[in-house]
Amino acid sequence: MPGILRLSIALFVLLGSLATVRAETPPPADQVFRLRVAREDSGVKLVWTIAPGNYLYRAMIVAKNAMPPGAPIAVRTPAGEPKDDPDFGPQEVYRDTLQAEIASVDLQGHHEIVVTYQGCAEKYQICYPPVSKTIDLQTLAIAGPTVADVGSSGGRSSFVDAPQDVTGDADRGGSTDASQGSAADLSYWITLGGMLASFFGFGVLLSFSPCTFPLVPIFFGLMARSQERLSFGRGIVLAATFVGASASAYSMLGAFAAWSGSSANLQILLQTPIALGVMSAVLVVLALSMFGLFEIQLPAGFVNRISGAASRGGRGPLAAAAVLGFGSALLAGPCVTPPLATALLSVARTGDVARGMAALFLFGVGMGVPLLVFGALGPRFLPKPGKWLVRVRHAFGFILLGVAVSIFSRVLSQQLTLQLWGALAMGVAVYLGTQFLMAHMSGRFVSMGFATVAMLIGSVLLIGSAGDDNLTATHILDRFILRESEPADSVRTVRSISALDLELAAARTENKPIMLDFSADWCVECKAMDAVLRRPDVRQRLQGFRMVRADVTAVDAASRALMERFEIVGPPTVLLFGRKGGSDPTTRIVGAVDANALLAKLSTVVTAD
């Protein structure tokens, strides 16, 4: 479902940017300083557009050959505006725009150059980390990392931005602005309506994201549970109860956020072993009832007290729908948290409990829209209850067990989680196997096939988790024989430029040569390279090296930046840095090579020092 993924990503970005605007966080350096390149008779012209309120340092503009980086290439920059603030020392800076030039004479013999520049934001009184761009001199294409794309991860933090009036300009210090808050009634209602509508809209959009998938099987399980055929009205009532309950859960979150003035507390509070355990237990009970072990009927008195007057069809399912709707909204949809947190954050800022509740309620209703549609129309497409319905109910029983495991796994060890999944897969295998033996339908061999697959999956999971929680399954063999102990390699894994710089600097202090190896989970060649790196003779030789792994599994700005830093086309690539070398690699190995080739390269690096 790439469409759904894309949609949810777009939504995240949208919500994220909304939050950024509100919080007045400084924009990333890449948005503030924009570089263009043009060819001229005399050479290459570099043109920066600098957003208002920001400046670039003249002294920080550097050009070098891309690979291997050599001496700086002369960049002709005009005289800048002197910034002779005593705290800043004598600096020349540029504002608005900057035109610099690299003469063709200086570009001879170069194919690609890296231009690095750095500046500060006066408005926020902060300085940005340096930005590097690679320029292909043939095509003049600019490739370049944005400085790590960190803005999007801000939502993870439990700190909120200080209110605008506090941080404003440093020069203004603590001046407060009291002119807000006296909005006309009409505009208040328009704003309120707009806010409610947008929360509803966000809910609808989110309902198509994978985040709400836990709700789907739970809801379908509910529907499949009812013995007789669901009427149109009954389906709607069931769906409305479920959605209404989950929306109330959200509105409770909204109330809590508005009241406490902070966002994720309640969500975090609910991710406790007890809360998750209770939810899983409810799901397991529901699953067992799907298997026909018993029928869930709440005590009549209890049900009547909740629902008042009696009605046809029994209240058990409705009560169950309400409980599950409420609980699953709070506990089952964890990955809704980032956008939900953004929504909660904006409610928390206003601190208006009633509005917060209304907004989050509509958010919940929006998320339940597809379920409402299913509830109304679903029963029509369901055939008469019969044997197949029993099987569907059993299937949902397994799915509910799966949901229960996945919810509870958040507080379980990896090993236990795998074992639970393995047991579940085994259960499915046994179930399907029995179907094969007992049923005499045409598709019985298909079910045998599925049983085998399920058994294989289950076996892999169970065997894989047999050792310890490090998931090194073969550790269990240690109980039977004494194996040669393998020295633990100290490989540091980095995923961003700043982390990499830190590792390189750290290695410098240790006075060791460095092996930097670019790898990714999706890269098959890397597996071959890893096998080479695991060989005893290679490990032996690598003892003297500091090993850093650049993990570029994620396809994002940070990993692009890492690769562009050293002009890496892709993993696997190994860069070797000599003991006395600067920040540039002395040797590079592209693609997977055999052990002898690697050892030879390692030797050259060591002897070169």
């Binding site: 007045e24 966080t25 400084p26 924009p27 990333p28 350096a29 002294a59 920080m60 005593p86 705290d87 800043f88 020392g89 600096q91 750095q118 500060c120 934001a121 408005k123 926020y124 009184q125 902060i126 300085c127 940005y128 980390p129 340096p130 960190v150 803005g151 991860s153 801000g154 993870r156 933090s157 700190f159 909120v160 931005d161 200080a162 209110p163 941080t167 404003g168 440093a170 210090g173 603590g174 994978p210 998938f213 836990p214 902070s262 497409f381 055939p383 197949w388 949902f396 799915i399 949901v403 996945s406 796994s409 961003s496 700043s498 982390a499 710089d501 830190l502 600097a505 202090t509 240790e510």
Partner: protein, 215 residues
Amino acid sequence: MLQRISRRTLAQILVVAGARYLIAPARADDNPSETDVSREAILRDPATPTTGNPKGDLTIVVFFDYNCPYCKQSEPELMRLVKTDGRIRLVYKDWPILTEASIKGAQWALAAKYQGRYDEAHFAMMAIPGAKIPAERMREAIAKAGVDMDRLDADLQTHAGEITALLRRNLAQADSLGLQGTPAYIVGQYRVTSALNYEGFKHVAADARAHAAKN
């Protein structure tokens, strides 16, 4: 006919929902340093240098770089508040992102902590005005501030792992906070992404305290 279609549809829903479930948990736990970027780690990492009142009711965390002029400009303002207020606990997060010399500076400052002279090294480097201070000048300033340089180099060797680990944690924390540049502050529960003056710091601190009292 109707029966067949709906059976297939149901089966599809089943497969999709099931597959999502099998895939999602496997990817969920990709970040090994979740505790390193927790609120607790940001506020109370035991390895991080602190100053001010250790028992203060308000914690201010400052993310800075030794080549960041705004950091240098606003630090005396912040220190003034820490002194006059008396109930602020200040946490230093060395966050060397601007130049290579910044990393050196941060390493030296953290190494000086082992002889109890972090503050000396820190203030010596922060007192050099400007944005492109070479490492040598930083070193001179530290030496002049009374830091035993031989011991510093020895400590840097012995504790290289700890220092790097701390800087690594600081980087991860800054990332997790979505910080774009230096300086940045955490004041109570607030994230402040710009340099402030005395009045500004005072105001945020008061707001943070008022907010904390409300809860």
